[in-house]
């Protein structure tokens, strides 16, 4: 779950991280009255995706009228497919320097990492690729969190690659970074986030540290512990997912593990690795997979039916490849489930099934009798479904 900027900043504030004064507006009039309070403002599109600046989603407004007009334009935009449900109006900051500060999951280290760089305001991936020495890193013990001396060392390491004059004297900066990093890390822990990012972290000319932008991603597996946030996000959920693939939105609604890939061969299998491998096989045979759909370990007939239904929602699909490894499930049962589903859903498209495991012979015979193509091996099945779809397309 990705929070919108204004939601991320509300979380920052609750943890004591300073943010610019700001108001959320959902209409041009709201924006105008917010700007009356705030003075000169920046008006920012609230979308769960980067690059909104380049897309015109961020505008400076000197007067309330300018703010109203800017909001009016931005609220009608679609940024990389996302509708804009709201704008955030914020006071202009007197920027002295821009830093990057983020807490993010580091898979290799199996820990959260704290990243600090004086090359702020840029995409951190680009900095990491071009000038990795400009990013200082810290991997705190997850129980203690970052300790003050660790944060000071992180800051010293980042300073070592900083260019130009510093706005803050060193001892002051070292002192201010300690509570800031501790709060951001604490927030990441409290929200079960895998990313909490302040980019840019602004040092104003008067020497304050202020979060210029905010990004927070909550771990999907931990959403059950944050129902309040899920509800809060709910208000903007439709817009927040407007840029997402609509088939995937529908699959989420149905509770299915589905990824839309844009090809014409629907793929269903059990186990993420197996399904990924099935997609690879289709591609190797010259086909183009329409989707990834994992029905999980103990495949039951009803789940198979739901999966077939989902795949058929994609109008591009011209053939279906079901690849089931029967570990505990019996082959004949899977076959029966498939036949029933095919009949109920009146599937006319080519349906190739590769099934292995307990009672696979019986299962294969049942499928054959019902006119569904059984295959002995997965590559063989892939070859057949690709051929049939190519043939049908001619």
């Amino acid at each position: 779950m990705k929070l919108l900027e204004h939601q991320a900043k509300a979380q920052f504030r609750s943890e004591g991280i300073e943010c610019p004064m700001g108001r959320v507006a959902r209409t041009p009039l709201e924006a105008e009255s917010a700007a009356r309070e705030l003075g000169e403002v920046v008006v920012k599109a609230q979308v769960p995706i980067g690059g909104r600046g380049k897309a015109g989603g961020v505008k400076v407004a000197r007067t309330p009228e300018e703010a109203r007009d800017a909001a009016s334009q931005i609220l009608q935009m679609e940024i990389r497919g996302y509708r804009v449900p709201a704008v955030l109006l914020e006071e202009l900051l007197d920027i002295g320097q821009e830093l990057y500060l983020g807490v993010t999951l580091d898979r290799d280290r199996r820990r959260l990492a704290v990243l600090l760089s004086f090359a702020g305001g840029m995409e951190i991936e680009d900095v990491a690729e071009r000038t990795p020495e400009k990013i200082a890193k810290l991997w705190p013990d997850p129980f203690s969190g970052p300790l003050p001396f660790e944060i000071r060392q992180l800051t010293l390491n980042a300073l070592a690659s900083a260019q130009g004059e510093q706005v803050l004297e060193r001892s002051r900066l070292l002192g201010m970074m300690v509570p800031l990093v501790q709060r951001l890390y604490q927030l990441c822990q409290r929200l079960d986030a895998t990313l909490c990012e302040i980019n840019p972290l602004v040092i104003t000319r008067s020497g304050q540290l202020i979060a210029g932008d905010g990004k927070v991603e909550v771990d999907q597996n931990a959403e059950y512990r944050h129902q309040d946030l899920v509800r809060e996000l709910g208000g903007d959920a439709e817009a927040a997912s407007s840029g997402d693939d609509q088939l995937e939105v529908e699959a989420r609604r149905r509770g299915l593990t589905y990824v839309h890939l844009g090809g014409d061969i629907g793929v269903i299998g059990n186990g993420a690795g197996l399904v990924m491998n099935t997609l690879d096989l289709v591609k190797q045979q010259g086909g183009s997979p329409a989707n990834f759909l994992d029905i999980g370990g103990g495949a039951k007939a009803e789940v198979v039916r739901q999966a077939l239904e989902m795949v058929l929602l994609d109008p591009e699909v011209r053939g279906i490849f079901v690849n089931i490894f029967g570990g505990i499930t019996r082959g004949d049962e899977v076959a029966k489930g498939l036949i029933q589903a095919r009949d109920e859903l009146q599937i006319k498209l080519p349906l190739v099934v590769r099934m292995t495991g307990t009672r696979e012979e019986e299962g294969r015979r049942l499928l054959e009798e019902a006119g569904i193509i059984p295959a002995v091996s997965a590559p063989e099945a892939a070859r057949r479904v690709v051929e049939m779809v190519a043939g049908a397309g001619r």
């Binding site: 290799d108 820990r111 997850p142 186990g271 399904v275 990924m276």
Partner: protein, 292 residues
């Protein structure tokens, strides 16, 4: 011989009285695993599947001398169960549970690191040492067959497929380890490769990776520094688009890391033959074992 699990292993099951725990413990017992106890807080003193049930891992260890735990508890409690097993002195913890919050696992992983306990998983099928008639987890019994091939894989069903295909061609396994599909795992490919390196039964290793993270790249570095046994590689997810979570929480290409191309290239640079299909895995295993 085998790695991690052998006929001496005394296994307890955390969450044995639950429905998943019950079913898979039965399977484990049928396979020959020496299951000595179950742990379900509040149910201590009862019996289940003919095994005593304890309120805590510590009590189970004292009474039964268990050495290995299989964890089948729900995601909200799984990280705690893993730490409980490590605190009780178990040397191997196998966590099958999926959907565990990732920061829970970060903490559990750090906790284990300071106690020298090994973790397999989570979100994994567990492991099986067929020659020792011992398994912990959910790898189907019929897929195991004793032999010289060490199997290590992130995916469950793919592990089963590989085991079955190898068995059909006449090649059994020393131990098969499913390390799991989560972003934060216990044993990595490198850890398991190091164990296989010094296991006399293992003549060859099949390593099946997938997109996401860079554990495969790091294993390639290990192999590149000189690995004593042939390794046959396999990477799934070559057609996966960036930024999409492909079923496994860990199977996602983020930024510039985690693509199948990068993993295949790293393995090939290290001299690993990378197979394109499971059939090719079997061919290469055949070729290598005949040659060697």
């Amino acid at each position: 011989m085998s790695i991690l699990l052998n006929s001496e292993s005394r296994v307890l099951v955390q969450g044995m009285t639950g429905s998943e725990g019950t079913f898979h413990t039965q399977q484990m017992i049928e396979f020959g695993t020496n299951v000595v106890a179950g742990v379900s807080p509040g149910k201590g003193g009862s019996q289940h599947l003919g095994r005593p049930v304890f309120d805590s891992v510590a009590e189970a260890v004292i009474s039964t001398g268990a050495t290995v735990s299989g964890v089948f508890v729900p995601p909200a409690f799984a990280a705690d169960a893993i730490m409980e097993a490590a605190a009780a002195g178990l040397q191997l913890v196998v966590c099958i549970t999926e959907l565990i919050p990732v920061n829970d696992m970060v903490r559990a992983r750090a906790y284990l690191a300071s106690r020298g306990a090994r973790l397999v998983g989570p979100n994994c099928p567990g492991l099986m040492s067929p020659g020792e008639r011992s398994k912990v987890g959910i790898i189907p019994n019929q897929n195991g067959r004793p032999g010289p091939v060490g199997v290590v894989s992130r995916s469950g069903t793919l592990t089963y497929e590989i085991m079955q295909s190898l068995a059909a061609a006449g090649y059994g396994q020393s131990t098969a380890v499913g390390i799991g599909g989560d972003p934060v795992l216990g044993l990595s490919f490198s850890d398991v490769l190091e164990l296989f390196a010094s296991d006399p039964e293992t003549e060859l290793v099949v390593m099946a990776g997938e997109i996401g993270g860079s554990d495969e790249e790091r294993a390639a570095e290990l192999i590149g520094r000189g690995y004593p046994k042939p390794v046959v590689g396999f990477i799934s997810g070559r057609t996966a688009p960036p930024g999409k979570r492909m079923g496994h929480a860990g199977a996602i290409i983020s930024g510039n890391t985690g693509s199948a191309a990068s993993k295949v290239a790293a393995l090939e640079r290290a001299g690993v033959e990378v197979a394109d299909t499971i059939e090719q895995i079997v061919e290469r295993v055949t070729a290598r074992l005949r040659r060697g």
